[in-house]
């Protein structure tokens, strides 16, 4: 089974039925899989804070949401995480492409990578880092944890987890 399919299987098994995405090359397979599943309403957003707004509304409407985005978006979403998701105590799994780690070909991506964990830590957001494919075995437990505690929870997935960048 592909890792993208396994990840989306875990979302579906945990009744996540509303997913918003902002694309990243690493996440393309997951986004395709989200789009293909009839159990999931997939709504692409134009910016990640907008996506978190959509997720807040969907959760209040009775659906379990998730957002899929790149780590550069941590810089875009700090205010929304603090004043909406955390302030109103809402659950939100955040599946993040962790650009700028080992095997990264684009130097500028490193500039946000060095802030990523520090910002998540400062925001008191529980953070899990998938480096090897087997790390994804914890996703089911992470999703259960997120909806148990009603907090945003970050899942960082780096290039090694996705198998590198190929011929780039």
């Amino acid at each position: 089974m592909s890792i993208s399919k396994k990840i989306v299987d875990d979302f579906v098994a945990n009744d996540v039925s509303f997913i918003t995405t902002v694309p990243c090359k690493q996440l393309a397979g997951v986004i395709d899989e989200v789009e293909a599943r009839p159990e999931i309403f997939h709504i692409p957003s134009n910016k990640e804070d907008e996506g978190m707004g959509l997720c807040a509304g969907a959760w209040m409407g009775g659906k379990r949401p998730a957002i899929i985005m790149q780590n550069t978006a941590i810089g875009v979403t700090i205010n929304t995480l603090a004043t909406l998701t955390q302030y109103y105590r809402m659950p939100l799994p955040i599946l993040i492409s962790y650009r700028g780690e080992l095997r990264e070909p684009v130097a500028c991506q490193v500039e946000m990578a060095v802030h990523t964990k520090a910002l998540l830590n400062q925001m008191l957001i529980p953070t899990y880092h998938f480096h090897k494919e087997s790390d994804a075995d914890e996703l089911d437990a992470i999703l259960k944890y997120t909806f148990m505690c009603n907090k945003p929870v970050a899942i960082l997935t780096d290039a090694s987890f996705w198998g590198g960048y190929g011929d780039q």
Binding site: I43, N46, E50, G53, G62
Partner: protein
């Protein structure tokens, strides 16, 4: 008319509906005029009222009315294409367009100058866009509800704010009572 006068006039229509209300003075005014568990007051997060309301409208079947502002929509312009391409029939976005950032001291926005929000919404793919004058808001809102079609309303009105206290209700209580009203 200023925003608070419009809200007073449409309060009887809003009362039985799910309402997502924009940050700052709009929420303070609605809270003071007619506090209801069906009102979701934004206490922070400038710009996201339309997005929260859209997620809510997609997730469940009851009508959702978003009370937004021109400044707020300008902050989150990406919302218009998302609405245009995903708008459910139970979603009404009412943009109170007073041409100013009311909560921060009535600094002018670009909609008071050359920018046309109705035109932008149409260009973004929103099918039912209506521009109305303040005095016609109630009639237009009721018509949008009765139409059973997703609608974006631009309500042109005067700049100005009523003086009301800040909302001191705990956010988790606002959210919890709202979710109970959604589910009831």
């Amino acid at each position: 008319m200023i925003r608070s006068e419009i809200l007073k006039e449409i309060a009887p229509i809003l009362r039985d509906q799910l309402v997502v209300c924009n940050i700052g003075i709009p929420s303070q005014e609605l809270h003071a005029i007619d506090d209801q568990p069906t009102n979701f007051y934004m206490l922070g997060t400038m710009g996201l009222a339309s997005s929260i309301g859209l997620g809510l409208a997609i997730a469940q079947p009851k009508p959702v009315i978003v009370i937004d502002g021109d400044g707020s929509v300008l902050t989150n312009l990406g919302t218009l294409p998302t609405i245009g391409n995903n708008c459910p029939d139970n979603y009404i976005l009412m943009i109170v367009d007073n041409g100013s950032y009311g909560s921060t001291g009535d600094q002018p926005t670009y909609t008071g100058k050359k920018t046309d929000l109705a035109g932008m919404a149409r260009a973004a793919g929103c099918d039912n866009v209506v521009e109305v004058q303040d005095v016609d808001t109630g009639e237009a809102l009721q018509a949008a509800l009765d139409s059973g079609k997703g609608t974006v309303m631009i309500v042109k009105c005067d700049s100005g704010n009523a003086k009301n206290p800040v909302i001191t209700m705990d956010p988790v209580i606002i959210r919890d009572r709202f979710m109970k009203a959604v589910a009831s």
